[in-house]
């Protein structure tokens, strides 16, 4: 019979190997769980993005005045640079989004239009910009293009959605 020390010495390499294998197995599992979590987060963001895009198209199609939608009004602003028209667009924008899924305590949004001339114009109504101090932890950006009266010129609307935490 082997003595106790002898038994430990004989089985030591195998035991070490088992420890290493168990360790590797755990590492692999942790890595897998991490990548799955990343995928789920990505999916969540994609779903939010789809929602934001649908909202933006709905916004552009929404009526502005008789026979005219908001995309037409934006095109008209691009042609005329009428400040009163821009104010009215901002008012309608606030009205539209305040009744949408984006009007929540933990969400904030910002809408800009990029004109073909390269200018970026804010269409977020002023009252939206005054919010309590918040910290954004996730930001989603979606863009929709709308044509202008000039065929090769496009206005791009950028909607930014901020998922926020209110700071105490």
């Amino acid at each position: 019979m082997l003595n106790k020390k002898g038994i430990v010495e004989d089985w030591l390499p195998l035991m070490l190997l088992i420890v290493v294998l168990v360790f590797l197995f755990f590492i692999t599992m942790i890595l897998k769980i991490g990548s799955e979590r990343e995928q789920i987060e990505l999916f969540d963001k994609e779903q939010d993005k789809i929602m934001a895009q649908q909202l933006l198209v709905g916004y552009l199609r929404s009526p502005f005045s008789t026979g005219k939608n908001l995309a037409d009004a934006i095109n008209e602003y691009y042609l005329t640079r009428n400040q009163l028209l821009l104010d009215e667009i901002k008012r309608k924008t606030g009205q539209f989004f305040s009744g949408s899924e984006l009007e929540e305590d933990t969400l904030s949004w910002d809408l800009t239009m990029n004109l073909p001339s390269g200018e970026e114009i804010e269409i977020t109504p002023l009252e939206r910009e005054i919010t309590p101090p918040t910290r954004a932890f996730k930001i989603i950006n979606v863009a929709v293009d709308t044509p202008t009266s000039t065929p090769n010129k496009i206005i791009r609307l950028n909607l930014w959605v901020f998922y926020t935490k209110i700071l105490a």
């Binding site: 082997l2 002898g6 004989d10 390499p13 195998l14 190997l17 294998l21 590797l24 692999t28 897998k32 799955e36 995928q39 789920i40 990505l42 999916f43 963001k45 994609e46 779903q47 993005k49 789809i50 895009q53 649908q54 198209v57 552009l60 199609r61 995309a71 037409d72 095109n75 904030s108 910009e129 005054i130 919010t131 101090p133 918040t134 910290r135 954004a136 932890f137 996730k138 930001i139 989603i140 950006n141 929709v144 293009d145 709308t146 044509p147 202008t148 009266s149 065929p151 090769n152 496009i154 901020f162 926020t164 700071l167």
Partner: protein, 179 residues
Amino acid sequence: MKFNKTGQVLMYGLIFGLFGSLITYLAISYTSGREFSQIGQEALYLIKASNKAEQALFYIDQSAKYSVQQTIYDLAQKGGFESPKCGDYFGYSLWNTKTKKIDECSPDYKENFKSAFSGNLDEYLPNHPEVYIPLNNYNLQLKNQLEIIGYAISDLEIPIGELGAEIEQFEISEKDGLQ
């Protein structure tokens, strides 16, 4: 006391066997693991593609609206013609001449409108930055006074792409927080 020779061979065999199986497991999980999609992934791809189609349709609708305005303007400039039947006089389309009566020269508004409209719409369609919209793709029908219906000849082709390419995620520090 030590293992005898058979015992040693079995021991090393076991070690190599375990290592081999571990390497095989790792190789399989990293190479073929991605072949199976996450639950809901394909559905998300499809919704994303349909969203893109919706955007393209919106672009087409708006383009059609502006093309109608442009077409009416263009036809009004040319006396209702795309190209005059009986010639022109210093750029003015003629509706009758010495030899031809008005019913022979007058424009066919509907046909001229359709033809000019298609041309104007086709100037818009290639400018969509993401979706390829085929040109000369609509059979037009004019109804009542101002109703224009375009039946697409071929479908829009929307690629079903990868997820996450355009997502931005970053933290805004407390100092720069949204005020």
